[in-house]
């Protein structure tokens, strides 16, 4: 048995709101700035996905899309749903919600995929004259989103789900 997390719900909400706010620049601003012989290019996550898709790498595009766009989005939605249900003292399907929470916690780290790719590329591709890659401002926001959602998931106490049940049954 673990002790209850203090101010679990409040903290969850705070991290969640922060994550949602940062999710916008994370997707709008470029995460990667590529310069090569003939010019330079800024890529956002979505433009990267579109590029991968249009160049025929559908599986890769799908992976990036799922890991970088849909997973954080779903995670935030799920956390918001859980937090809201606890806030409203909902008694609906506590078991399902507990499972949802566990899934959210599990997949959290996978959405860092994009950041890893960018970080590796920035480190590797530094052939000055031919091509260089810099992380864009979006990368910072995106990393913050991922960290914040993880923090939100961590600060959420699943026992709260059952609290309402007990209050309701009482």
């Amino acid at each position: 048995m673990k002790p209850r997390k203090p101010h679990s719900l409040r903290r969850t909400w705070a991290f969640l709101v922060a994550a949602i706010i940062l999710y916008v620049p994370a997707n709008v601003l470029p995460v990667m700035h590529t310069e090569w012989l003939s010019g330079s290019e800024d890529d956002t996550i979505l433009s990267g996905v579109i590029y991968l898709w249009s160049s025929g790498s559908w599986p890769l595009a799908l992976v990036v899309f799922v890991a970088s766009i849909s997973v954080p989005l779903l995670k935030m939605a799920a956390l918001a749903f859980l937090a809201a249900s606890v806030q409203l003292r909902s008694t609906w399907q506590p078991r399902q919600r507990a499972r949802l929470y566990r899934i959210v916690e599990l997949i959290g780290r996978w959405s860092m995929l994009d950041i890893y790719v960018t970080a590796i590329l920035v480190a590797l591709v530094q052939a000055k004259a031919l091509a260089t890659i810099h992380a864009g401002p979006g990368a910072l926001a995106f990393a913050a989103v991922v960290v914040l959602t993880m923090l939100a998931a961590m600060s959420f106490d699943p026992r709260l789900i059952w609290d309402a049940q007990r209050h309701g049954s009482r």
């Binding site: 101010h7 409040r10 903290r11 705070a14 991290f15 709101v17 922060a18 994550a19 706010i21 940062l22 916008v24 620049p25 709008v28 601003l29 012989l37 003939s38 010019g39 330079s40 290019e41 401002p137 979006g138 910072l140 926001a141 913050a144 914040l148 923090l151």
Partner: protein, 529 residues
């Protein structure tokens, strides 16, 4: 924690404390997001639209906009205009470019091209086409532009002078054709436009050269090779190898002009066809004359020189036919301009200084002493004619000052005179009864033939026997002279007798020498010995 009244107060104080602690995170996130957003918005430059005839080489999201090869923007989208005639490229520029997006800012697609002797845009082979930008100077801001079809020849900020030339035709000039000054490339043609009375050519003269564009500068076509055939023979003129291939414009100041002020910007000049024409002094003082010729003027071209003893004093103007009223004659009227400023008076005063009357008297005096205009061939090969003024031993003609322009008396060309003389000779020859003469001659020849035949027959019959006789004579002579002939033998015997006689005589002579008395007493007896 028993007292039931206080927990709320405690909770409130803790809540008040803990609220900012936790909610600081979204606040920081909001600030971060806001900062990122504001930064992105602030960094976003102005968006412009550029219209092009075709989107050749332009790619949305790829094609850059470059000013002096520095990227200042990128094409965001390429769309067709509603009427499908143009392509509208929307581009986003960097913030700093904003003040330079003015009315005369120019955009064009940079791609490899070969024009006017230069190759440009080779780097785009590797990097793909980009849109070149030339910043304008106007103060009027603008966001919609029409792209140029070709790169502008002169960048907007290059120092120099833009001039306008008026030409009868563009020749081989095109945008980018070079402008030469003393055979150095000094600028370029920036445009050729149609003009009501010819072609308007705008040229840009680069910085060090523009100071030589004085208000009396002369421009001429330096296009290709100029081959001119005139009274002076064949002349070939070129500027440079480049201009041979693609044409060009050359300019210079006419020789002998003193320092003149620089031409103001956008001064308009005339573009002459060739340097000779360009460098000709614009003669202010002109005297027009007409000369009537009753002969062919084939080979006399407008512009042919009027020559006075080797010095060009004017040039031929219009040449046309003129009917002499009543006389039933067709004459050729040659109009010529004489430049009195080229003639110097003996006292050093230029003839321009002379009054009209003085000039008139002078020309009258010249004509009175035999000055006439005459057409002369400059070259027998090319058959070009020039108009010569010279003195001839003729009298009587006068300048017709009443005519307008005044009429100078003329003299038939020397060649024409010769032709006339030959013509009359031929006419005389024609009068000779050549046919009769030929008949007579033939008769004479026939009788001569007959005579010869006769002689032949007569003489041949006599010659045969004579020759036989001669042969016989010769044969007997031969016989007579041969070694065994009696004559020979006789003569040999006779010679021997003579020799013997001579011997006897020698004996006698010896004897007599020794015995001269023998002549008297006779021969002594031999016994005494």
């Amino acid at each position: 924690m028993d007292p039931a009244e206080t927990p709320e107060a405690v909770a409130a104080s803790r809540a008040r404390w803990s609220l900012p602690a936790v909610w600081l995170v979204p606040l920081v996130a909001a600030l971060l997001a806001g900062w990122l957003g504001v930064k992105a918005v602030l960094e976003r430059g102005p968006a412009i639209t550029i219209r092009f005839k075709s989107a050749d080489g332009i790619e949305a999201g790829k094609t850059k906009l470059k000013y002096k090869n520095v990227q200042i923007g990128i094409v965001k989208s390429v769309a067709l205009s509603p009427d499908l005639k143009e392509v509208i490229a929307t581009a986003e520029l960097v913030k700093d470019a904003k003040p330079h997006l003015v009315e005369d800012t120019r955009f064009w697609v940079v791609k490899p091209r070969i024009a006017a002797g230069t190759v440009s845009g080779l780097d785009t082979l590797l990097s793909g086409a980009y849109i070149g930008v030339d910043a304008g100077k106007s103060g009027k801001s603008r966001r919609e532009f029409a792209g140029l079809d070709a790169p502008p020849v002169v960048a907007g900020d290059s120092p120099g002078a833009l001039l306008v030339l008026h030409a009868a035709s563009a020749g081989s000039l095109e945008v980018g054709s070079p402008v030469f000054f003393r055979r150095l490339p000094a600028g370029q043609v920036t445009g050729c436009e149609l003009d009501p009375d010819g072609v308007k050519v705008s040229v840009f003269i680069n910085a060090p050269f523009d100071q030589y564009v004085t208000s009396n500068a002369r421009f001429w076509h330096a296009s290709g090779i100029e081959v001119k055939l005139d009274a002076n023979g064949i002349r070939v003129d070129t500027q440079s190898l480049v201009s041979i291939l693609i044409g060009g414009v050359a300019f210079d100041t006419p020789p002998g002009t003193t320092a003149v002020a620089r031409a103001a910007a956008s001064t308009e000049f005339r573009l002459f066809e060739n340097p000779t024409e360009a460098m000709k002094n614009p003669e202010a003082d002109k005297l027009e004359f007409t000369m009537l010729f009753n002969e062919s003027v084939r080979g006399l071209q407008p512009g042919a020189p009027v020559d006075f003893r080797g010095i060009t004093v004017g040039e031929v103007g219009a040449v046309r036919m003129q009917m002499a009223p009543g006389a039933g004659e067709v004459l050729v009227a040659v109009q010529a301009t004489i430049y009195p400023s080229r003639i110097e008076w003996q006292d050093g005063v230029r003839s321009t200084a002379g009054s009209r009357e003085r000039r008139r008297r002078f020309i009258d005096a010249l004509v009175a002493s035999g000055m006439r205009a005459q057409l002369r061939p400059a070259s027998l090969v090319t058959h070009q004619l020039y108009l010569a003024l010279d003195f001839f031993p003729v009298k009587g003609a006068k300048v017709n000052w009443a005519a307008s322009p005044p009429q100078l008396p003329t003299q038939k060309a020397t060649l024409v005179e010769l032709e006339t003389a030959i013509g009359s000779l031929a006419a005389k020859l024609e009068k000779v009864p050549l046919d009769d003469l030929a008949g007579d001659l033939r008769q004479t020849l026939q009788s001569a033939q007959r005579l010869i035949d006769h002689i032949d027959a007569e003489v041949a019959s006599e010659v045969g026997p004579t020759l036989a006789q001669a042969r016989k004579t010769l044969a007997s002579a031969d016989r007579l002279l041969s070694s065994d002939s009696p004559l020979q033998t006789d003569s040999r015997q006779a010679m021997r007798e003579v020799a013997r006689a001579a011997q006897a005589f020698r004996v006698l002579a010896d004897y007599l020498e020794r015995h001269p008395e023998a002549l008297l007493v006779g021969k002594k007896d031999e016994g005494t010995k």
